[in-house]
């Protein structure tokens, strides 16, 4: 594999250090990049045992990134174990606590784990292996070059002698670790662990009902807290009458929480703390709170939709990008296609509601939190609650789903504020489902007005999108934007992307494949219309647009922002999925149709075809084919396929029924009856083909989702002749 990504640059300061393990064996500490962690080692700080090998040969690997179901707790240790050449059955994986001094990039999100860690983790494993070989060479007097390793043993082929890693570990602990950058890595052809379907490292513990999740944190005497926040976003707490709540059964305290740092940190609220969650929840209903809701007035989804329509009519806003002369090109084109598309807000609805357990004692805060960004919670608590980071300990628990929701740390700040008000008492804050849906950082809604010009050969010559989105102070929110390089930019000569921003009080944030999950539906849906008007189908139009070998945009290493789009890789998956699905120009009528969708996000190229049947008001997705290019290597086929099928099913859930709406800032959905998640019955057969290309492996948490939605809506059109231009299909 050619490693041409920015990984190498990031990796220059990585190094490994060996120490003896208490009780015998070796402990390796790894510093990943960056100067601060290196200084930690120089200063003699005790480092976490990143990889340990005890005398029995048992290997323990510390997984530094939070596990939200994306499988990093298995896939990253697999990278180490492969190069270490140990027996996977003897590997134990443990979750690291949060520690900024020891770990970099200790977070889950952006499908970044595999691209960030593919080489650093392998190098760490290879270096440990080299030390074990060196220890065997020293002990036996045999040259290291004559020794090989396999499944936890160093062997000397000529003499048949072998040493287990366990017996070598003591001696290896005394050696100097080799330079990570120059350590030779295995030829991928020889991989025995990477590329092998591997069951989740902790799955058996979940099946045993062990206490692994945030909600499972428990301590003697622990109390239970719930919070009541404003009925509408933007509300301010005016007065609190908690007399009835305080008198309620089991209640220990009622605590007023004055908001800090705006809605993204902690809104105003009142916490009720009781001896059982049930008692707290019952007492919460007795609170009499008065809110100032003036800031929420007028913030209604319907009102936004009306403003978007007016804005479309007036083409108000500013250009995000303008190439050539799109207006003239449209006038001169043989045919013009116009359509408007919209999608609603949606919630993350992680199955484990937001929660955090905290105890504040003698000025120190200890927390157990299911968080995707542990560092964010710690620094927000330091900044807003005045508990310095060095006085905080954070245990990262297993996490009942992330999808971007737990990139925010509002629930951690709340829990810390409650714990701080009750020193010495452990408290678990747990939100009700209603609170969780009411107080999310939603995937923003959006409204697009498209126009496209086609010449008389059916070629796309002009393309414009007027995108009405949401933000603050006229600036689009980070999760509500669109990169100016968005497809088909640079591939159509006359092109315009225009932007108008509606100011909102509704909190917004990234949701699995941020922006892409919405834009794919609108753009691929409209391009399907363009293809039809030009007398062809969408994959054919896409192949035409991608015909030359072009690179659009550039790779930035910023989290979640733009990446270079390579037309060649797009062609690869599009052509593949056409073959894989037996794509023929859409069969029409009979209530059944095929639809196509392509999208590039998080460095992954995905082309998908859906086979859909419609009868009456019922839409059934029979089958979905997925062709994916995420580079040269699939680390864990089990985990990888799970991410793809999960993302596709997530897309179906969004498409069928998910919609968050609001009146004067008040969210109208409360629970899974009005905000429905995909259930087993909607699940189609899903066929995945990996199109392997000579590129560094990239992540899979997100990029399979976006094209699933237009593949299905385009199939519905093929089946019924009815265009789906507004999501969701059904309103609960």
């Amino acid at each position: 594999m050619k490693a041409t990504s920015p990984l190498q640059a990031l990796d220059r300061r990585s190094f490994l250090k060996a120490t003896a393990l208490a009780g015998g064996g070796m402990a390796l500490s790894l510093s990943l990049g960056g100067g601060s962690s290196a200084q930690g080692i120089e200063a003699g700080g005790t480092l976490t045992n990143f990889v340990t090998i005890d005398r029995s040969g048992k290997v323990t690997i510390t997984a530094k990134n939070p596990e939200i179901g994306q499988g990093v707790m298995t896939s990253l240790p697999m990278l180490i174990a492969e190069e270490l050449d140990c027996d996977w059955a003897k590997v134990k994986v443990v979750q690291a606590d949060y520690d900024a001094a020891r770990y970099e990039r200790q977070r889950a999100g952006g499908s970044f784990a595999i691209p960030d860690e593919y080489l650093p983790m392998r190098r760490a494993g290879a270096a440990a292996r080299a030390m074990l070989v060196e220890a065997a060479a020293n002990a036996s007097g045999i040259a290291a070059s004559e020794l090989s390793t396999k499944a936890g043993f160093v062997r000397h082929g000529a003499s048949g002698r072998e040493w287990s890693y366990g017996e070598l570990a003591d001696a290896a602990a005394l050696l100097r670790a080799p330079d990570l950058l120059n350590i030779p890595l295995k030829d991928p052809k020889l991989f025995r662990i990477i590329g092998k379907p591997t069951t989740g490292a902790d799955s058996h513990r979940v099946l045993a009902g062990e206490a692994l999740f945030g909600i499972d944190a428990n301590m003697p005497g622990m109390l239970h807290a719930v919070v009541e926040t404003s009925p509408a976003h933007g509300g301010k707490l005016k007065s609190v009458d908690d007399s009835a709540a305080r008198a309620a059964h089991g209640v220990v305290a009622v605590i007023r929480l004055d908001g800090v740092g705006g809605p993204s940190v902690m809104p105003d609220g009142v916490a009720v703390v009781a001896t059982n969650h049930w008692y707290a929840e019952q007492a919460r209903k007795l609170l009499k709170l008065e809110w100032d809701l003036s800031a929420s007035k007028g913030h209604s989804l319907d009102a936004y939709a009306q403003r978007a329509a007016q804005s479309h009519d007036a083409r108000s806003g500013h250009d995000l990008r303008r190439d050539g002369d799109p207006a003239a090109a449209l006038t001169n084109s043989a045919k013009v296609v116009k359509a408007r598309y919209s999608y609603p807000f949606i919630a993350h609805a992680t199955l484990e509601p937001q929660n955090c357990t905290a105890v504040f004692k003698d000025g120190r805060l200890e927390m157990w939190a299911p968080t995707q960004t542990p560092g964010r919670g710690v620094s927000l608590i330091a900044e807003h609650l005045g508990i310095p980071a060095r006085n905080q300990t954070l245990h990262i628990t297993r996490i009942g789903g992330g999808f971007g929701r737990r990139l925010f740390a509002d629930f951690m700040v709340q829990a810390a504020a409650i714990a701080k008000a009750m020193p010495g008492k452990p408290v678990q804050l747990l939100w009700s489902r209603e609170e969780d849906i009411k107080r999310d950082y939603y995937r923003p809604g959006g409204w697009h007005s498209f126009e496209a010009g086609i010449d008389d050969t059916g070629k796309l010559t002009a393309f414009t999108d007027h995108f009405v989105t949401l933000g603050e102070g006229g600036k689009a929110h980070r999760s509500a934007g669109m990169p100016p390089t968005h497809f088909p930019a640079d591939l159509v000569p006359d092109l315009q992307y225009r932007h108008e921003v509606i100011d909102t009080v509704i909190p917004m944030g990234p949701l699995r494949a941020p922006s892409s999950n919405a834009l794919a539906f609108a753009f691929q849906g409209f391009l399907d219309e363009v293809a039809e008007a030009g007398g062809k189908d969408l994959p054919t139009l896409m192949l035409e647009l991608c015909a030359g070998d072009q690179v659009v945009g550039e790779d930035t290493n910023a989290w979640g922002s733009g990446f270079a789009f390579r037309t060649k890789r797009a062609r690869g998956v599009i052509a593949h999925v056409m073959k894989q699905s037996g794509w023929i120009s859409q069969p029409r009528g009979g209530g059944r149709g095929f639809g196509f969708g392509f999208y590039f996000s998080h460095k992954g190229y995905f082309a998908e075809v859906a086979d859909v049947s419609v009868s009456g008001s019922e839409t059934k997705v029979n089958r979905i084919w997925v062709a994916a290019d995420v580079g040269s290597q699939i680390v864990n086929p089990f985990g990888a396929e799970a991410q793809v099928t999960g993302a596709v099913i997530d897309g179906l859930g969004q498409l069928f029924g998910q919609r968050i709406s609001f009146q004067d800032g008040a969210i109208e959905q409360q629970n899974f009856d009005t905000f429905p998640l995909a259930r087993i019955g909607v699940t189609p057969q899903i066929d995945i083909d990996w199109v392997l290309t000579d590129n560094p492996p990239t992540g899979l948490g997100e990029p399979a989702l976006p094209p699933a939605i237009p593949a299905v809506t385009n199939a519905i059109y093929a089946a019924t002749g009815k265009r789906i231009r507004d999501l969701p299909l059904n309103r609960a």
């Binding site: 179901g69 902790d202 009902g209 059964h249 992680t350 199955l351 009942g400 699940t683």
Partner: protein, 161 residues
């Protein structure tokens, strides 16, 4: 809130053992199990019988413990995932679950197993429709449904593993 419910002692039969807990009669079994009896396998997802995360068995039947008052469970045998560890049908499910790597975040999975177990006891060789029907009350936010189907077929001896 029920008017000033009175806390009292309940004797519950949980996983074959009698356990005394204190609760108000209206407390859902879920919270009694998690926070009074100290069982962590049963999970909270919605509190409204909509997601299945809290599924336990009451006399062998799958129920949503978030809507069953503890008083109503007093004379029944309560089984949670912890109590199924040595059960032969459950062992088959666990093995199939690990073999097909069903789990993503894992939060829904105890509830899924409880529903699958009840299905297999009623219908040892469930058809695909039986499976979808029996599992329709259990949401998996991560979308592990394809492997849930496969694992149940394997556990019921209907598919080569």
């Amino acid at each position: 809130m029920a008017d000033d419910p009175e806390e009292r002692e309940f004797t519950l039969s949980i996983n074959g053992e009698e356990q005394r807990i204190r609760a108000t009669p209206d407390m859902p079994l879920l919270w009694a199990l998690r926070q009074e009896a100290g069982l962590s396998g049963v999970k909270f997802g919605c509190g409204a019988a909509l997601c299945g995360a809290c599924t336990v068995h009451l006399d062998g039947n799958p129920v949503r413990s978030c809507v069953i008052p503890v008083a109503a469970a007093e004379n029944s045998d309560i089984t949670t995932i912890e109590g199924l560890q040595d059960d032969p049908t459950a062992r088959k499910l666990f093995d199939a679950w690990l073999e097909t790597d069903v789990m993503q975040c894992g939060y829904c999975q105890a509830g899924q197993i409880m529903s699958a177990h009840a299905l297999l006891r009623r219908t040892p060789k469930p058809s695909p429709d039986d499976i979808d029907m029996a599992m329709s009350g259990n949401i998996c936010r991560c979308g592990t449904y394809l492997r849930i189907r496969e694992a149940i077929r394997i556990a019921s001896g209907q598919e080569e593993s």
